[in-house]
């Protein structure tokens, strides 16, 4: 009975040709380079680099305020520049934004003692100062991805005078949720033991953990899809690019991991304004600049419930939540998102461009108060809500996020 079901004679000539074509594709030269948008390294400190992306040819730079993109410490920022035509950075450049991005590099054993404070008040603050000096500006636009967005949120609350507009994308700020497996598992992980043993958290362990979030899809289904489409060269090239990125993982500095696990995942201090960095309280009410908070409906890593409380906690009145119908990675790399995600951010920033603020000579910029946009911001919010059906101002309950792959 089983023999008849899997009778090899049912293999059509089509299947045989598929295998033949697939082998031709795999044996041919493949274009699998990622992060090809040209940039210059304008600043280095320890393992980190600040990349300045060259303006797109034939595109006038319309925005006077530069945008600094801060990626997470997990995986690499190259995901934002996966390939031409599917590059968030390229879209930003085409919309006339001036873009900088931090490359966190590959932590080694000597980086194991770096804390969140070292990353936020150290590296990130230094990078912001470098960009401000280069452009003679008091503040810049800040955009964070995932854990990078968490860092940006902390930074903006501690240094609001240096941040003109804040964009957070799939950034966890509320960790008290049982929607995502990571949040569930993190409650039972002994971070102290792991960090004391390993120093930095090995990338292989992190990669394995992420695969376990949805093993059926990420270990079996993904490669099934590859087998079916192996005869298509563009598909194979795209697939290999994603594979290159997804398994290109740096280790995470031990003390940062310890702090993130304990103080964020297990104690949820950030959203409760109890997070302390180098003796300073991270008070979200001091986050008074415009905030665009984007998250993904089917995000199995950072579910909507981990993101959608931020707008209600900040001091800014110009806030907007946007929930896209996609997953954690799809928000950046899917073809559909290319027309929704990056243009939305670019337009939102351009709307708030205004006159760039110059630093006042002789006056300290730290601690200076920013004016809060009220009436104008409300009108702008209405416009952008109309453009994006899933954007909203008032947080509401989301259905459980479906696994949509990484």
């Amino acid at each position: 009975m089983l023999n008849e079901a899997f009778n090899p004679t049912m293999l059509s000539e089509k299947a045989f040709l598929h295998i033949k074509k697939a082998s031709e594709v795999l044996l041919s030269p493949l274009d699998t380079d990622i992060a090809t948008t040209p940039y210059d390294v304008v600043y280095e400190e320890d393992r980190i680099k600040l990349k300045h992306y060259r303006p797109a040819a034939g595109t006038a730079q319309k925005a006077k305020t530069p945008l600094l993109v801060v990626y997470a410490l997990v995986n690499r920022e190259t995901m934002l520049d996966l390939q031409p035509g599917r590059s968030v950075l390229e879209t930003f450049l085409n919309h006339g934004l001036e873009v900088y991005m931090i490359d966190w590099g590959y932590p080694t054993r000597k980086d194991r003692y770096l804390t969140i404070d070292d990353h936020v008040n150290g590296y990130l603050d230094n990078v912001v100062d470098v960009i401000r000096e280069r452009h003679a500006l008091a503040s810049l636009n800040l955009m964070g991805i995932c854990m990078g967005g968490t860092f940006c949120t902390m930074y903006a609350a501690l240094h609001p005078e240096k941040v003109k507009n804040l964009v957070t994308t799939v950034s966890p700020t509320n960790f008290d949720t049982d929607r995502g497996l990571l949040h569930h598992w993190a409650q039972y992980i002994d971070a102290d033991k792991i960090v004391d043993t390993f120093g930095n958290i090995p990338a292989d362990i992190l990669n394995f953990g992420f695969l376990l979030l949805n093993p059926a899809k990420l270990i079996i289904g993904k490669y099934d899809c590859l087998m079916e489409n192996m005869a298509s060269k563009p598909f194979v090239e795209n697939f290999i690019r994603m594979e290159k990125w997804i398994f290109d993982s740096p280790d995470v500095p031990g003390e940062t991991f310890r702090q993130f696990m304990k103080e964020c995942y297990q104690e949820n201090r950030l959203i409760k304004n109890e997070m302390m960095l180098d003796g300073q309280r991270v008070d979200l009410r001091k986050l008074t600049m415009p905030l665009l908070n984007i998250y993904a409906k089917h995000d199995h890593l950072v579910p909507p419930s981990a993101c959608n409380r931020l707008s209600g906690k900040v001091g800014s009145t110009d806030t907007e939540d946007v929930c896209l119908d996609t997953g954690h990675i799809g928000i950046y790399v899917s073809a559909k998102s290319q027309n929704e995600f990056a243009p939305k951010i670019a337009d939102w920033l351009m709307t708030r461009e205004g006159a760039p603020k110059k630093p006042t000579p002789g006056k300290k910029t730290s601690g200076a108060k920013r004016s809060v946009r009220k009436a104008g911001a409300a009108a702008e919010n209405k416009e952008s809500k109309a453009a994006m059906p899933s954007s909203r101002k008032t947080p509401k309950k989301h259905p459980a996020s479906r696994s949509a792959g990484r």
Partner: protein, 293 residues
Amino acid sequence: MTSASPEKTGFEEIFSGWVKASNHMMDAVSRTWTPQSPPTVDDTKNARGSLWSWVSPFDSWEKMSTVMNTATNLGALFTNPLQMKDLPQMPFPVWPEAMNLSPRGEGTETDYNKEIIDAVMGIYHRELSKVLNIPKLGITRTYQEKLARAMDKFQCFQKYISEFINILNIPLKQSFETAQENLSEMAKNGCQPQDLKKYHSRWLKKLETKYHALLNSPEYIRIMGKTLDAMADFTKARQDVLQDVMKFAGVPVERDMDELYKDLYLLKKRLKAVEKQLNASANHVPVRSSRKK
């Protein structure tokens, strides 16, 4: 190797010889493993742990290799497999039966594996662990203790990693069992799936659901936590032993490097704080230790 046959090429002859040799080997193994007494009804029904479960796949392999090894099919195998004759008669080896995935008999495969793990660890804790924990004596007692601790932690790690792998295997086995049952049922009723791709997608979806349920369960989280702890304990114990060995060779160990890194980190932090203070004060020359281009 068989004598050359006029219709076989050199490569085909090698392949043919390999198939025959494999057949002989499988036959010999099958005879060795097959119990001398005839199978009972329970043996044939309960494939789990039963040596009779291997008879069927061995027979299948023998039949398949015989069909493949004919001159016509050998030639077709290397040119166009679709032209191989007697393909409908080629039996599909019932490997799932051999791997004891059939849901026959009482109890589950999971329990069986867990019982083995628990039994082995029980023996270890009752017998070997006590030996490892005997107080060490003499000038090298510290090193002996570290070695014994590393061995003990290794056993614990083995236990939990086995449980972890076992529990991760559950949804896969369950989904295979269900798929096998469904296929058998469909075949009995004469309505086999026409579109295997759809069937496969359905199976994958069910597997995803099973994994989602498992990964959220308290049992999985308990085992995952224990495995991580055991891995950390074993890694630490192993590092202690290795570092002692490296010390004898005069090689700086991780502990030494970590102390150095810590000093370096604290020095850099102090330096940056001083830099910031200097830069913030009036009438200063900007100071920056990092490289700006």
